[in-house]
């Protein structure tokens, strides 16, 4: 079986074998923590500082 012939289910299976649940949890938790920090910073300074970028990227919030 090569990477050309495997399926999406195989990939999920491989990822499961490769990544321990604790690792996945740690990565996920860290991601949530980063998002939380960003949301915390959002108002108002960081948000205002990203003003040009938000316009240029066409991101909805304003």
């Amino acid at each position: 079986m090569t990477s050309q012939s495997d399926t999406v289910a195989d990939r999920i299976e491989t990822a499961r074998a490769e990544i321990a649940p604790t690792t996945a949890l740690a990565i996920f938790g860290f991601g949530v923590a980063i998002t939380f920090t960003l949301l915390l910073l959002q108002e108002p300074l960081a948000h205002e500082s990203l003003h040009n970028f938000r316009h240029a990227a066409g991101i909805v919030c304003h």
Binding site: M1, T2, S3, Q4, S5, D6, T7, V8, D10, R11, I12, T14, A15, A17, E18, I19, P44, L45, A46, E48, S49, L50, H51, N52, F53, H55, A56, A57, G58, V60, C61, H62
Partner: protein, 239 residues
């Protein structure tokens, strides 16, 4: 193998991020600043003055551009790892299909209803409503991209040309129908229509370029490292 894809995605995102950061610094920052000064009274601060110095805004926006591409690159790597077997095409072409799907999902579909706006735009809807609408449109975009890929895969064994038509159908329909049925939600009373059109074209092209760059850099990194197979990796970990 998963981490190889994630790492490659982040690297590709870094390449695109440097390019996009340069674009922010040289094109987008001055343009947004200009548009702001052309129209009087546009500001986010309640008292009319800006909370943050303009130079800070410029620098943070460049960094934001870099991080944005890095984030997209990481997501691209993870998504490609899982979806690669289901995507049409072979080799790097799969990456470009995924990049197009990502662009369609998070940018193009929302823009069909809520087009990119320059400073000073007048919005019909409030922020909360727009966020909810945006989230709904991203979900719709994902559905359109998925149905397009599924349609292509289903028809492909019979005829490749027909499959391309079948795959393009959902996308073309959405792009043709959505803007006509949705009301105008954003207007720029103080800017000329030409300027707004040029501004929107800039946003669309620059965001599209990020995706193309990510897919191209990813494909290049993959070719350089040699494509690893699921089998050899699994065998390596189990034996």
């Amino acid at each position: 193998m998963f981490f190889a894809y994630l790492k490659r995605g982040l690297l590709a995102g870094g390449v695109a991020g440097i390019a996009y950061g340069l674009f922010m610094a040289t094109v987008a920052n001055p343009l947004v600043g200009y548009l702001e000064h052309v129209q009087h009274g546009h500001s986010h601060a309640p008292d009319g003055g800006s909370v943050v110095a303009e130079s800070t805004t410029a620098i943070v926006s460049v960094g934001g551009g870099l991080l944005w591409a890095l984030f997209l690159g990481g997501c691209f790597g993870i998504a490609l790892y899982f979806l690669e077997p289901a995507l049409p095409g072979r080799g790097a072409a799969k990456g470009f299909v995924l990049a197009a799907s990502g662009f369609l999902t998070i940018s193009v579909t929302p823009w069909l209803v809520l087009p990119p706006f320059a400073p000073g735009a007048e919005q019909v809807l409030g922020i909360d409503t727009r966020f909810a609408l945006y989230a709904g449109l991203v979900a719709l975009g994902g559905l359109i991209a998925a149905s397009s890929v599924l349609a292509y895969n289903r028809v492909e064994p019979q005829s490749r040309g027909l499959a391309v038509v079948a795959g393009a159908l959902p996308v073309v329909t959405a792009v043709a129908v959505l803007p006509t049925v949705s009301p105008t939600l954003v207007s720029h009373p103080e800017l000329s229509a030409d300027l707004v059109a040029a501004y929107r074209a800039m946003v669309v092209l620059s965001q599209g370029s990020i995706w193309v760059l990510i897919a191209a850099a990813f494909g290049w990194l993959q070719r350089r490292n040699g494509v690893e197979t699921t089998v050899s990796e699994t065998a390596g970990t189990t034996t």
